[in-house]
Symmetry: C2
Subunit: 441 residues, 2 copies
Amino acid sequence: MSSSDLIELTAAEAAADIARGAISAEDLTRACLDRIAATEPDIQAFVHVDADHALAQARALDRHKADGGRLGPLHGVPVGIKDIFDTADYPTECGSPVMAGRRPEADSTIVAKLREAGAVILGKTVTTEFAYFHPGKTRNPRDLTRTPGGSSSGSAAAVAAGMVPLAIGSQTNGSVIRPAAFCGVFGIKPTHGLISRAGALTLSGKLDHVGAFGRSVEDLALILDVLAGHDAADPDSRAYAAPAFRAAAAEEPQVPPRYAFVRTPMWDKADTEAQEAIEELAGAVGAEEADLPDGFAGAWEAQRVIMAADMAHNLGSFADEGPVSEKFAALIAEGRSVTAVQYLAALRDAEHYAEGLWGIFEQLADAIITLSAPGVAPLGQDATGDPVFCSLWTLVGFPALNLPLLMNDEDLPIGAQLIGAPGRDERLLRTANALIGAISD
Amino acid sequence: MSSSDLIELTAAEAAADIARGAISAEDLTRACLDRIAATEPDIQAFVHVDADHALAQARALDRHKADGGRLGPLHGVPVGIKDIFDTADYPTECGSPVMAGRRPEADSTIVAKLREAGAVILGKTVTTEFAYFHPGKTRNPRDLTRTPGGSSSGSAAAVAAGMVPLAIGSQTNGSVIRPAAFCGVFGIKPTHGLISRAGALTLSGKLDHVGAFGRSVEDLALILDVLAGHDAADPDSRAYAAPAFRAAAAEEPQVPPRYAFVRTPMWDKADTEAQEAIEELAGAVGAEEADLPDGFAGAWEAQRVIMAADMAHNLGSFADEGPVSEKFAALIAEGRSVTAVQYLAALRDAEHYAEGLWGIFEQLADAIITLSAPGVAPLGQDATGDPVFCSLWTLVGFPALNLPLLMNDEDLPIGAQLIGAPGRDERLLRTANALIGAISD
């Protein structure tokens, strides 16, 4: 298999090829490293890659296989890790000079799980400063003059550019779904509490989610199989009865899925071309139009209040010591002005929004269709675009996918977002497969 | 058995006598009602008692027994319920004119569990205004010129006065342990999350605990057997593997318990007679003196910040609409001035204090001995005494008992407090039995 074929494999395909001996972990890792060498000067998705270390991991995995060892579901598959997740073998600097040279002693839970699953930890991908808004160096592989989105900029760009089949990100507002939309890759922000955040930078316990980028719905299910699970080291970790996501996602729905098309109160922020594209998709699958219950416009303010206060609590000392960006300093100042009563009201409101949304899933639909972002990736590298179409789903902790199904006239991706009921991530993935099947017919 | 014998029975004794047919539920309930009729004009422990309704419950329980029905562990035992717990058959007014005449539609979880266990819900006991500081009408049965303590004033007084063998209270700061100490009865504030608060007035999710008053350690274990257990309707409910508390508490310890005597940074607030009494007790059982880890003086401020902010969040609207006491209004104003960052820091600090206290239990002792209150019940009815010896244990959610083992020269009770490791309530009860045995030898 040629190097250009290798870098187009999905993670599931690559793992299967490695398992049956068609390719080696070293072949695949070398192809990824070659691709990085060729495209990284333009795209700059990584903050740390050690080719020798990556190849050493791959060769060790090949030896393990040659010795008849048991193979994990990601055996030999290179993965990129957003640089807010601790790694024992790479620095973890969180996109800030405040943490320059920081070397964790232990892997975060998700990195440890990836290693157990046989993944090659290829390197650390660019994050915006503290996974907030101030951009890193990464450019959008679909158009280098545009932002890749943030805060998981490098992970989205690396998957889009063929540097890795899979990459890990995180979302506190719109940091997985938005860059997935802008870079035209599959992305998942699973149910809050499904994947442990132990060993990751904490912005907000209520809002932080681990997410992932891949080249197929199957790969997103595969990464949930590897990462989902209760972890006592994460106080928000939930002991969901975890299904086999990949198997469940591959099942045919027993009845055709029903979709609700929800514009949200932020609809006017979307470009006309994005509005028309998602309306066409919703129409093509027979989605029923649904409004959010009354009072939902407050959800965006609630998300903001919680994020600002939690970040002031968790990261305020960095703002005091600096250097930090103006935007980050302003958020910390804003967070410090939030009263406890405002904060507690926002948390209570979030519960009400979640209950209200349950109604849509109980009565109307298996999944909500909406935009992932207001349009294609904006021009320039000074900002990372608007997370406004993600804030609500992050606040309530419902699972969300970006499906790279739509394009504008210039072949730039427009993201379709699919949202499911909480704790039913496998059903959301199955519904996504059904939707893709329906529009491909 | 005479009426005066009946009202001296512990709940466990009464339930056993009823089960073997020596007395009836109606006998016992009538004795309690007679005692209330005789002493209530002085003590004023109840806000609602309906003698006919109580006797009807008792007769129904006697019929159930006569019909060969299965008996719960409290079959026929009258219980008093602090008037912040919803009852479907009595008003629930939370000690405030704001809620005058309020009639809940459903029982709180603990009242439902008591009914399932066969208890006679005898009536609702006086609480301070919203279970905070502004006193109700209750007087201390040991000395009518003194406060019974608060906020569970009526429940503590009712048990002390022989009106009921058992009563339910709650503690957000010192509202079970302090009145138990002042009234000279056994009291328990179990581990946070062990007993559901669903259907109770919420002051603070982090701090609110259901507690109970009784005449023996065995009765406190019995009430835990009835009330402990996970409840999805209480977001802080913890799924502890609940032992059979009464059986576990009755076991002989395999090795003699070790005690740590902790004065706490609030020691100077205690009266000399109380200091000397608890020092003598600690010496008598060979307790090792232990200091709290450094920095623990901040725990009292953390408890205050969380309580004030949570109460402003949960009860602020009552202060706006009124009428409320000046003290309550001042607390709400204080809570509204707390910033989210102060609040979150207090929650984080509480975790640190809990971790620090674990060290004492791991290295030193099965239980901590300290005072329950700074001294005997203060004179007057304008205030309910100082909860300062309870705040820390409430903040960390560790289980605590008041043991009515000490007296001053005027035969007024001084409370000894015993604190255990979280989730080991049965061990704390067993240790209390061992302590009582040791000083009785």
